[in-house]
């Protein structure tokens, strides 16, 4: 087999693996609905709070706030989740005896799972948005824009989650670290971050951090149709650099974990 057809076969396999993981998110719909049933309620509460905190700025209308909160909430609820990370790290040992790369299989699996989870939550929110007073064309446009950024966000999320999966192989337990990490991203990039009433230079600093690129900017794009203070090209460049750094870190730590794994015994 030539290296080209091998690469093609590999891409096809990982695409199917991601699709398998995506479908898995829809395999137990009653449980998934029960697990996410309160999300629209959070969106409503957070939208109300936001309105009071941010009333002077007037950057968003109430309808937009609801959509923005819904999308950021959706992104956070599916970002570096412990279940997916544990599953990837739990597969590490056995994967070394398979003829496929653990790193690539975990990555495609994480992409599939987060995409599936995000689509599922989006479908739930599409039912909730009109009930919260934010349906109509604005919701349709926002949802369509969301699907534009979804694949790339899945790649970025997958790279972050993979880093935690490798860390879990090395240190066995990362869930204590996972929660603060998620919360820092939430504070810096999400609901209250970049467009809140912060003065300079904090506002500029916040806007340049990865949490802003991963949560605030995509959600802002979905609602408004453009990024905040940057072009789509700039956003792609910044997230592209972030993805490259994360990919290199993953490869380095995977090799390190493989070496360290030698000390685990039988």
């Amino acid at each position: 087999m030539t290296s080209f057809s091998t690469s093609l076969e590999s891409i096809n396999f990982h695409r199917r693996h991601a699709w398998f993981n995506l479908r898995e998110q829809f395999s137990d719909i009653p449980t998934a609905i029960a697990a996410n049933a309160l999300i629209p309620f959070f969106v409503w509460i957070l939208s109300e709070i936001w309105q009071r905190f941010n009333s002077s700025q007037g950057n968003f209308t109430l309808k937009e706030i609801i959509l923005y909160i819904g999308i950021t909430e959706l992104l956070f609820m599916t970002f570096v989740r412990l279940g997916s990370i544990s599953r990837a790290s739990g597969d590490f040992s056995i994967a070394l005896s398979r003829p496929r790369s653990w790193l690539m299989m975990s990555f495609s699996g994480l992409i599939g799972r987060s995409t599936g989870g995000r689509i599922f939550m989006l479908l739930m929110l599409m039912v909730a948005f009109p009930l919260l007073g934010s349906g109509g064309q604005l919701m349709v446009d926002s949802v369509l824009r969301f699907f534009i950024v979804l694949p790339w966000l899945a790649v970025l999320q997958g790279l972050f989650a993979l880093l935690f999966a490798v860390a879990q192989v090395l240190w066995h337990q990362t869930n204590y670290f996972l929660m603060p990490f998620g919360k820092i991203f939430l504070v810096l990039g999400g609901v209250w971050g970049p467009v809140a009433d912060f003065s300079e230079p904090w506002k500029s600093v916040l806007l340049k951090l990865p949490p802003s690129d991963l949560f605030f900017q995509p959600a802002y794009f979905c609602v408004k149709g453009h990024f905040y203070g940057i072009t789509a090209g700039e956003w792609l460049l910044r997230t592209g650099i972030l993805a490259a750094v994360l990919a290199l870190c993953n490869i380095y730590f995977f090799r390190y974990a493989k070496r360290e794994h030698q000390a685990y015994g039988g």
């Binding site: 040992s93 005896s97 003829p99």
Partner: protein, 312 residues
Amino acid sequence: MQASLSAVNIVKNFGSGDKTFKAVQDLSFTLNPGESVAFLGPNGAGKSTTIKILCGILAPTSGRAEISGHPAGSLEANKQLGLVFGTRSQLFMHMTIVQCLDLISEIYFLTGPAKKKRIHELAELFDITDLLQKRVRTLSLGQRMRCEVVAALLHKPKILLADEPTIGLDIIAKNRLRELILRWQKEEKSTLLLTSHDLSDVEALCERCILIDHGVKRYDGKLSLLKGDLSDLRRVQITVSEQGILPYANEGKIKSISHEEFIHQYELRSQKLPMAEALSKLSHHYGDRLQDIQISEVSLEEVLAQRYQGRP
């Protein structure tokens, strides 16, 4: 003939300096195509470490392991290897069996019509055709284990490593799985390396056994010869109808072990005293007060317990 699996002078140490722990010490063995071999040893003997080295999960400190001539852990070696773990599942709980088998086939580069054909072939062999559309979470443990074995065999591995494949199964499910593994092995002429603490698995599936302890090989040969000088030892249990009967007077060849109210136990060597003669003497002694006789060999458990004795 190309060996299915070979371990050559494998050494595996953990730690360094004064704290070095020698998990496996100079271990060598070869498995030929079609062989069924049990890999036995007490806890901490180095079994799992050796298995991990054979799978390519761990690299040996020195020595080498090969699967069908390919270095363990290489892509080619991994393609020849099937793995079944009784304590961990390869299947995805929320998906159907056929979806899981479909994905696992592709992990091993099996695609298209060949994949479908193989899934249905094995589904028939392991009697899981009715389970294919069911979700993994809805299966009983026995059904799931049959599916796990099928998942491990999809890519026609030349060697199957089975680690405690019947753990937790009831006797009916155990027997069924063993029968199916034997049938598969007969049909595909593959090699089986089994690790199990359930010696009934070992006796049902394997002809040869490798025994290790403290990382060192203690025995490698026919399972029937593992009993060594205990192989002709027979235990005879007599049930009598009355209390207070004296046991058969010891002539040196029939040794009285115990005698409680209605149960008298003896040990004898069938090589030294033919069983017919022993039974004749005992029945003559007890006469019509003899109610029942049970004869048993020394169990594999006892043999291994004796061999493990003295270890820390």
